[in-house]
């Protein structure tokens, strides 16, 4: 999460104070990412140093000191919004490694391991979904954040379902099954 760019985005609406920026940052992210005031000031200092924001009252200090975005800041913001984040290299996913490892441990059923994780994820999803049930309490930014979390968890459940099916089919076709542990080892080593 780029606090730097989020602050630029808030300043693009008009000049703001440090305290106001913290408040608006938290509400604009559905309060999922808390931010302390120290972080806000450090970030503002760096943005000012880089010429991306300017203070309206350079001599003033503290929470009431106002800032506005510069032209360079607007260009930086626009470039950041339109640049996709780096999603090319797969993260070292702990759950993937647990499932791959389960394949190699004698006496462990990989299907049971998968089910334990599946149930945990679905329980988490139930809890997020319950927050959606009462629409009256559900504002737009919070809805977007909850959706993002549900889709993230859902993609993991889908991977587990696919893995479960793939392993079941592999077990019925011995040649494929025998290559699975080697494949798992290669993947783990490469990462």
């Amino acid at each position: 999460m780029s606090v730097r760019h989020a602050i630029l985005a808030l300043l693009s609406e008009g000049p703001k104070y440090g305290l106001q920026l913290r408040q608006e940052f938290e509400s604009s992210t559905g309060e999922v990412w808390p931010l302390n005031i120290g972080q806000v000031y450090t970030t503002l200092q760096r943005l000012e140093r880089d010429g991306l924001v300017e203070s309206d009252e350079p001599e003033k200090e503290g929470p009431q000191k106002g800032f506005h975005i510069t032209e360079a800041g607007s260009e930086e913001l626009s470039s950041w919004l339109n640049t996709p984040p780096d999603m090319t290299s797969p993260p070292r996913d702990e759950l993937v490694i647990k499932v791959l490892s389960a394949l190699r441990v004698p006496g462990v059923s990989v299907h049971d391991v998968i089910q334990i994780h599946r149930r945990y994820l679905v329980e988490l999803m139930q809890q997020w979904t319950r927050l959606k049930e009462d629409e009256a309490d559900f504002d737009l930014t919070f809805a977007l954040v909850v959706d993002a979390e549900l889709f993230r968890l859902d993609s993991v459940v889908r991977w587990l379902d696919t893995a479960d099916g793939r392993l079941k089919r592999a077990a019925l076709e011995p040649p494929v099954a025998s290559t699975m542990p080697r494949l798992a080892r290669r993947l783990v080593v490469r990462r």
Partner: protein, 244 residues
Amino acid sequence: MSFLELRGVSKSYGDGATEVHAIKDLNLSVNRGSLVAVMGPSGSGKSTLLTIAGSLEEPTSGEVLIDGAELSKMTRNDKARLRRRTIGYVFQDFNLLAGLTAVENVSLPLELDGLSAKKAQVAGTVALEALGLSDRATHYPDELSGGERQRVAIARAIVGERHLLLADEPSGALDSTNGEAVMRMILAACRRGVAAVIVTHDAQLASWADRVVFLRDGRVVDQTMPPPSPESFLEGHPQPSPHR
């Protein structure tokens, strides 16, 4: 007390070497007001569970009770009445009758049950209104969008005094926004006292349920624990808060 109960239910097809066990020794109980989701891969027995719970198919062994009454002790007529009056079905492909308007589709089960056409029409209109479809009442299914067709199917399943709603992949091929709308309607019916079972492979749909049951090879292998209250969940995750 549970409204739907499956006790040690098994279902197999064929016999001898070709015998296939669709579900094995399955126990499930669903209370009034409660939404249970059944998850599992294709071939895990999800749809068989639903047709047996809905008295559309008989189990090979075990017992199904609806509102305390054993289905195996009912006559064909009793079961037909149960299907008309108590059970609502929602299918993946909606199963609306193409030659009838939305409101005629919804009021049909009531008319079949002996209600006058006029009264059935009124009840159908009320059910459609509740799902935000008043302005679509006189449209035919092919004049409705996929989301609207599914809402008509849900209205038909809960019209009158039905207490058991059974849904097979209720959001079908709908997008996630319409899928969510469908789940909100099913949940709203449950909060009014309906007992509902949905079968799905979609975790986002299942996560609307009070309890999720996992099937594998015709057996219940696991189920979720009752979720904590939203408030205590938020305490565990201090950041998000819907109340501001």
